[in-house]
């Protein structure tokens, strides 16, 4: 039996997926979710084989929700209209359905998934998430999970980012949060006029820099308004100067 979850904030949008699924006796819907928070919970609880995921949803969008799930299941995205999302989907193995879609189109997506399910889709989902990060929403906030709680950190609240093995540590005035992403991902997605990579392992919010002190030879320390100190390398100092216009 194939177990699936439908995540969409519009009841009728979920209804039509259920209707189209009626002809599949081997697929069962184990839960329906109204938003990304419920979605994360349901995925952790049921470990479904496949999810139908809407992109534009309250609070956190479909991509942000997926980022919070450690081993995301196979996904078929559903979306009405989202330029950035559609750009991310092109040239990607993960299928997406443009609303409103027909039973035939739906069947094709299911068939495609059934055919490739053993090949392992995880890589393409990861690649998709990297690309989807270029949408404007994701340059303004970062969604993290601490225990069972989900936090949305507005970009303005970020002090600095620090590389930590496979994770990135996001420092805010309310503490640090871990996110399973790379430094270069954040360097690419966050607003380059506000966030500068000052060091191989650091990205700093330049709006919060109080002063820059010399430190050892050719290295510097950026002191933030909160008192936190962030290392600045030689090349990082050059980048910083360009953005600050000095």
């Amino acid at each position: 039996m194939i177990r699936t979850i439908i995540i969409d904030d519009e009841p009728l949008a979920r209804e039509i997926i259920k209707e189209y699924l009626q002809s599949y006796s081997n697929i069962t819907v184990v839960e329906e979710c109204n938003d990304g928070f419920e979605g994360v919970k349901a995925i952790m609880q049921h470990h479904p084989d496949l999810i139908f995921l809407d992109i534009q949803m309250p609070k956190i969008n479909g991509f942000e929700m997926l980022e919070l799930v450690e081993q995301p299941p196979a996904v078929i995205f559903t979306t009405a209209f989202d330029e950035f999302a559609i750009k991310a989907f092109e040239n990607n193995a993960v299928d997406y359905l443009l609303k409103p879609f027909s039973q035939e189109r739906f069947d094709k997506a299911i068939r495609k998934w059934l055919d490739t399910r053993d090949a392992g889709n995880e890589k393409s989902t990861q690649a998709l998430l990297e690309q989807a990060g270029e949408s404007p929403v994701q340059s303004q906030r970062i969604v993290v999970k601490t225990g069972s709680k989900i936090r949305i950190i507005p970009a303005n609240d970020i002090l600095y980012l620090e590389a930590a093995d496979d994770y990135v540590k996001i420092h805010t005035s309310e503490g640090a949060f871990l996110k399973n992403k790379t430094m270069s991902y954040f360097e690419k997605t966050l607003d380059p006029q506000q966030f500068v990579r000052t060091h191989r392992s650091y990205i700093v919010n330049i709006q919060l820099i109080h002063r820059i002190d010399p430190y050892e030879k050719e290295n510097y320390l950026a002191v933030l308004t909160t008192g936190a100190q962030v290392p600045v390398s030689k090349s990082g100092y050059t980048r910083l100067k360009t953005v600050l216009g000095i």
């Binding site: 519009e10 009728l12 209707e19 938003d35 609070k59 009405a80």
Partner: protein, 344 residues
């Protein structure tokens, strides 16, 4: 730019005035006891030449406008040109009246008087045409400005519609697609509502203004469609002041405000959401406020007026030249947008 002599009527008037002016002087000189023939030749020739000089001045001003306050420059040009006119008369017209000794002596004696009268004439003509061209220029600027504003309005309206359409439209169609199978009656009703709504957004420029009650009907259609989409999550309340029903309001002004409220409200919280719209008529102002909940932890209202609202503000500014007609406030996690529309 149009020349003051562009119309036939003005051309005839110009010629008639000069002719009358020449004949008047000829008659005056005859009255003083000079010979008819000589005075007529002199006056017709002199004034014809002065008319040509004026024409030259009028036309050259059309292309070479003196800068503001360059009166000395204008006076110098006039003085020079008039002097030229005087010498042409002295050398060109004088030989024709030389046979009349009396008249000839008068002509030589009056050269300076002629010069100053002619200077006065050319000066006046220059001043008048400068005035004419300045007015023409102002008219053209006015037309350009009006055109620019109309373009801006059209562009904004276009943007407004573009922002509105895709997401709303496709999601609504998706809802209908779902309803067709389970509840065909409701599907048909929603198709009807969606059609009425789209028709409303398409009739535009001709009706720049509409009545509040019509605008509210349109908003109600939109809200009804959204309620089908979002089900129990969306509640709406419209509190309308009966006295304000006939107030005038720019067409499609409320739409982006309500849309903004829904977007803000529905996508910023996961709980059921109530959108409240209130209208009031107070001292010649129609006041409309739209209220929606938001989450202060994730949304910073300091980001300004936000999506869609800046175009509303701009439109109000274009229509009323007032920039304080749109206000946003936050009270107890409620975001309130208030629009004021002056009533005539």
């Amino acid at each position: 730019m149009r020349s003051p002599l562009a119309t036939i009527k003005n051309k005839l008037l110009f010629i008639a005035c000069w002719l009358a002016w020449a004949l008047l002087f000829a008659w005056l000189l005859h009255n003083w006891g000079y010979n008819w023939q000589a005075s007529l030749v002199d006056m017709l020739a002199s004034n014809a030449l002065l008319a040509i000089t004026s024409l030259f001045l009028i036309n050259s001003l059309r292309y070479y406008r003196p800068g503001k306050g360059k009166y000395l420059y204008v006076l110098t040009v006039c003085a020079g040109i008039t002097a030229l006119w005087n010498s042409v008369i002295y050398f060109g017209v004088r030989p024709f009246v030389e046979y009349d000794v009396e008249y000839y002596q008068f002509m030589v004696k009056s050269m300076w008087v002629r010069y100053f009268i002619a200077l006065l004439v050319t000066g006046c003509i220059t001043l008048m045409s400068e005035l004419w061209y300045a007015m023409e220029e102002q008219k053209e600027t006015e037309i350009r400005r009006a055109e620019a504003e109309k373009l801006a309005r059209d562009a904004e309206l276009y943007n407004l519609r573009r922002q509105l359409q895709p997401h709303f439209l496709f999601n609504s169609l998706n809802s209908i697609s779902a309803l067709v199978h389970s509840r065909p009656e409701e599907a048909r009703k929603m198709i009807q509502q969606l059609s009425d709504f789209l028709r409303g957004t398409l009739k535009k420029e001709e009706n720049q203004w509409t009545s509040l009650s019509e605008e509210l009907d349109h908003v109600q259609l939109y809200l009804d469609i959204e309620k089908v989409r979002f089900g129990y999550r969306l509640h709406t309340e419209i509190v309308a002041d009966d006295a304000a029903g006939n107030c005038r309001i720019p067409h499609m002004l409320l739409q982006p405000v309500v849309e903004n409220a829904i977007k803000f409200g529905l996508y910023d919280t996961t709980e059921p959401v109530t959108i409240r719209l209130t209208t009031k008529l107070e001292d010649n102002h129609l006041s409309i406020s739209v209220q929606n909940p938001f989450d202060p932890r994730t949304t910073s209202p300091r980001r300004g007026t936000g999506f869609g609202l800046s175009s509303v503000q701009r439109r109000l500014y274009l229509l009323f030249s007032q920039s304080d007609l749109l206000e946003t406030t936050t009270v107890n996690n409620q975001f309130i947008t208030t629009i004021k529309i002056p009533q005539l």
